[in-house]
Symmetry: C2
Subunit: 369 residues, 2 copies
């Protein structure tokens, strides 16, 4: 069964479709959205060998002239240099791109962000469809129109908002996803529960064993529920002027941990974005507990669930002062003020706080150590 | 006297201000639009030494922390590599940019396009104010939100729509503008007359001597009239889905001539964008004359006016077949169909034609030779 979740935006909404074998339907479904001739599939060196052929065949079947361009997998290649290289290859095509061309973003968050940014800036913007293949991309980055690349000074510092025309999610692609990536995606699902839907937390707790075992149908349901939450938040605040910031729960400290790991330590090691968000959520919950915004029991419940899903909830050697410095430079900080999203009285509701002190932040990071 | 022309857009309109000494008012006028702390002035190596100090002083006065970054002047530096270098310098600032920062684009069309693209993609979009210093930028590129860079495969192939928060035009800056650049700007003014306002053509004809002599007050009037035309067209069609294409009158063949000169011949020589547009207008008018859409007298009148303004109306050695190939690859061609904007019955009105034959195009180019 294909589930369709609409993302209702002022200018042009789009549908997120979730269901089995969608990888083989990318062509006809894209054809319903785009009239052009050329389709450029952008993917990475991990996902390309697994799924690019199926997607390209489906696009060819739907009368697109298809070119597949991949780039080396990994966050370290999410750069302006990678984008420049893709432009060189796209413009070298026999059929040059025109404004009716479409970019097909195939892969995880990095491929989606890079391909989305290419689409945002190719001829001042062409259509993009997102075909995510990781749980994190399924429930988070493929929906909402954030695109971009990293800079040595920080993650996602260069980019654009560019909404996709459609998102096609085949949970079958998760069969090839390493466990560590699955856990990273589950962290964002827990986040969605904390910010909007305590019932989702109950459901994940109840299904955690089957999810870890990789039940495809169950993943379809999980993805659809999470996309619905993300879609509602994005629809309410497309450009992150207000409510959309709620999605940053766990990301303030999480991003800093990630930035330090990737850029200072020279590589992410076993740490994924989702793992950092899990740590960030644990720390944020501690701030909330101390402020009386969340009970100690609820914070413990979240920790237990994250651990059950295979996510670390402690991290040795975190350096509070250093992370504070990174947070102040984060693009979400305005005038150096660090904003926190915290549970507001209970799980399932959050609010934004601008008055968290350095001491509270340092204590929360200390808790992780 | 400061004239203010509103650009009325659905999401967020802005004002274009034209008047003497506005270079010294950039700070307070930007402060009314932007609340942030950091202002990054982006300019080129020609304009920076002339005007960056005045603009920076005005911004400092208005409580901005100002950094000035310049790049080598010239279309050949309108590249992704230049943008990457600017990002490196922006992120190296002691006060890192945040979402309330502002980019101040100071200079001609290249500086405006590059700085605008940096603003469009810095932290997924920060505010930009345009401070154009050439006639071409005054009446054309600073208004309308087109930003971007070139690629070896063609002009403006990489970019984004990103409307400025404000545009401040000081006609006094034209005092330092080489004559060849002034003529290039006047070509776009003639274009505006042909597509929307036959009265403007009369006015330019009547004032041509004083304009060429560099009368600053007269230039203020000329700029305000032209900005009003451009603003009306942009307001009716922000993303170039329809009517905005009228602004491309003269650009179909003009762009091809420019592309050949810049990219094939290794440099623009004495040819500026406006000069190419002038040639393109002469050629387009010939197509219109042959179709009975314009009288031969009117076409001659335009040619005489362009020549009077110092613009070439013939070009030796143009290669029709080669230009045709370039036109088919232009980003405005869809599915290889070359679209022409042509006068529709009289000067002051144009329409779009998709059915111009190769033979008509080749004959028109032949006319230029």
């Amino acid at each position: 069964m294909i589930q369709t979740i609409p993302v209702q935006l002022a200018a042009r909404g789009y549908d997120v479709c979730v269901g089995p074998k969608l990888l083989d339907e990318v062509g006809p479904r894209t054809r319903r959205l785009v009239g052009g001739q050329a389709a450029f599939v952008i993917t990475d060196s991990n996902v390309g060998p697994l799924y690019a052929r199926r997607v390209a065949a489906s696009l060819t079947e739907a009368d697109f002239v298809v070119r597949v361009h991949d780039f080396p997998a990994g966050e370290s290649h999410k750069t302006l240099a990678t984008v420049a290289g893709l432009f060189d290859r796209i413009f070298a095509a026999e059929i040059p791109p025109d404004r009716d061309s479409v970019i097909v973003a195939l892969g995880g968050g990095v491929a989606g962000d890079v391909a989305g940014f290419v689409a945002a800036t190719l001829l001042r913007g062409v259509a993009v469809v997102q075909v995510p293949t990781t749980l994190l991309a399924d429930v988070d980055s493929s929906v909402g129109g954030k695109t971009g690349v990293d800079h040595p000074a920080g993650k996602n510092l260069i980019g654009a908002f560019h909404q996709p025309r459609g998102v096609f999610i085949d949970p079958g692609a998760l069969a090839t996803l390493p466990e560590i990536e699955l856990a990273a995606g589950l962290a964002e699902c827990v986040k969605h529960g904390i910010i909007r839907d305590a019932g989702l937390l109950d459901w994940i707790e109840a299904q955690s064993h089957s999810l870890i075992a990789g039940d495809e149908e169950l993943f379809g349901e999980l993805i659809a529920r999470n996309v619905a939450i993300k879609a509602a938040v994005v629809a309410a605040d497309e450009r992150e002027a207000g409510e959309r910031a709620h999605l940053n729960f766990g990301h303030t400290i999480g991003h800093a941990i990630e930035a330090e790991a990737v850029f200072a330590a020279g590589g992410p090691g076993d740490l994924r974005h989702g793992h950092c968000v899990a740590l960030g959520m644990v720390a944020a919950n501690q701030i909330a507990v101390r402020r009386g915004l969340l009970s100690g029991d609820e914070a413990q419940r979240v920790e237990a669930l994250l651990a059950e899903l295979g996510l670390a909830v402690r991290r040795a050697g975190v350096d509070g002062e250093r992370l504070l410095g990174i947070m102040r430079r984060d693009k979400k900080a305005r005038g150096g003020v660090i904003r926190f999203v915290l549970p507001a009285g209970q799980l399932g509701r959050v609010a934004i706080y601008d008055d968290v002190t350095d001491e509270e932040i340092l204590d929360a990071i200390e808790y992780l150590a």
